[in-house]
């Protein structure tokens, strides 16, 4: 498989440092307090946020901050083969935990004591980078719900194949067996909240790949900010403000 052609093009025609096309939509689930759909190339995820609301299980209630719960699942039709167990399996549990920790660090929980915030993310179409797309969708949904946050959390993945760092791997490139570094980043505060990697990578190369992923996160942040501002303007316009 030729992951990088002699002309310097990847399998889908991108350059190594090129991201896939981004598309986002807010308010897609009217019943939820906040919701969003986020697409990175062919990967499409939907996020819905409920909260802040009363804690269901009083034993988990925290008197000084909000309880953040997150559930990640993949739709049966999201991958090529029909998935056997879309949630409850180890991978989904792990990703749920990762997304929860990333978002919890960013939400200003002490402003909403004794309450619960539920984040549900579901992958509708999986083509690599589902973790990142879920975090980006969750950020949009939380912002749509009006939940106070320190900054927008954006996420992007990067890999290393044929001695070249690749930005935003798709499923085929991810399955190549090379490393897959996922970064969660707060763009305005310039802080990394998530750093995960699969497979192996020489330690000297890690920084280069991580910085490339951070550049991807900054690009996602710019796009997310545009979408949020446009959405708010539309709502104000409809309200007659």
């Amino acid at each position: 498989m030729e992951y990088l052609s002699p002309e310097g093009l990847r399998l889908d025609g991108r350059r190594p440092m090129e991201m896939r096309q981004l598309r986002a939509e807010i308010g897609v689930v009217p019943k939820a307090d906040g919701s969003a759909v986020f697409e990175m190339g062919n990967t499409k995820v939907i996020a819905a946020v409920y909260g802040p609301r009363e804690v269901e299980n009083k034993t988990h209630q925290m008197n000084d901050q909000a309880l953040v719960r997150c559930e990640y699942s993949m739709a049966n039709f999201s991958t090529g083969d029909r998935t056997r167990k879309p949630k409850g399996d180890r991978r989904s549990t792990e990703i749920s935990l990762v997304i929860r920790q990333t978002m919890e660090a960013c939400i200003i929980t002490h402003l909403l004591p004794r309450s619960q915030i539920d984040i549900f993310v579901q992958v509708l179409q999986a083509d690599g980078g589902t973790r990142s797309a879920c975090i980006n969708a969750a950020t949009l949904a939380l912002s749509d719900a009006g939940i106070p946050m320190h900054d927008l959390v954006t996420s992007c993945s990067a890999g290393y194949l044929k001695s070249t760092p690749f930005l935003d791997l798709n499923y085929v490139e991810d399955s190549a067996g090379g490393p897959d570094v996922t970064v969660g980043f707060l763009p305005k505060l310039d802080k990394v909240t998530l750093l995960q990697m699969d497979s192996k990578l020489p330690i000297g190369i890690l920084e280069e790949v991580m910085l490339l992923a951070i550049e991807g996160c900054k690009a996602v942040a710019g796009y997310i900010r545009e979408v949020l501002l446009e959405n708010t303007k539309q709502l104000e316009y409809r309200r007659g403000g």
């Binding site: 009363e54 749509d144 009006g146 106070p148 946050m149 320190h150 949020l228 708010t232």
Partner: protein, 196 residues
């Protein structure tokens, strides 16, 4: 008051200015290390002038989002609640409105025997003050314990606002500050009536 970019729209994480020049209000927060004020919500920026008597004369920066959040009872706010259960030493009620807004999901409040009225608080008979189903106006004393807010009706204008008579179900008319009468049956029932 600032006039430049006064009404612009912001997203979470954007820097609004220095903490030395402005005070973060709703939707903004300050970081001590950098001394900057950041936005925490998506919405429109607005400036509020400082209170003339406060020692801190910095203007307050606020961000109004487009989603309205349900209102939450605060100590000191006046609430309208429906009495759920009357027990020996307290009455429990569901808070339905806070100040002038109705809540999204109901909150639980309790009115203890000593908080029903201002005088002779140890001689209060809860069953002669409230019955299940009464609508009361109360003030929030405190956030209470994990289960319920603590409410008080110990003022003239607080107490039962509307009650139904137990047999006919008709809305009763207050005849004194301790009694209400049913217009259909003439029955008089004791309540802690609010002076409307």
């Amino acid at each position: 008051m600032k006039t430049k970019d006064e009404e612009r729209m912001v997203t979470p994480g954007e820097i609004l200015g220095k903490a030395s020049e402005m005070r973060p209000g709703r939707g903004a927060y300050a970081v001590a290390e950098t001394g900057d004020v950041y936005a925490s919500l998506t919405g429109r920026l607005s400036w509020l002038p400082p209170r003339p008597d406060s020692p801190d004369q910095r203007p307050i920066v606020e961000i109004t989002g487009h989603k309205a959040h349900g209102v939450v009872p605060e100590p000191g706010s006046i609430v309208i609640a429906r009495v759920k259960k009357v027990m020996a030493k307290m009455a429990s009620a569901d808070i339905m409105c806070v100040d002038e807004k109705s809540v999204r999901e109901k909150f639980t409040g309790i009115i203890r025997q000593q908080d029903v009225r201002a005088t002779e608080i140890d001689k209060v008979d809860i069953h002669s003050s409230f019955r299940a189903g009464d609508i009361v106006r109360a003030s929030v004393l405190s956030l209470g314990d994990a289960r319920a807010y603590y409410l008080s009706t110990a003022k003239n204008e607080l107490g039962v606002v509307s009650a139904a008579e137990s047999t006919t179900g008709a809305t009763m008319i207050p005849i004194s500050w301790t009694e209400m009468q049913c217009p259909l049956s003439g029955q008089i029932e004791p309540r802690k009536v609010a002076k409307v």
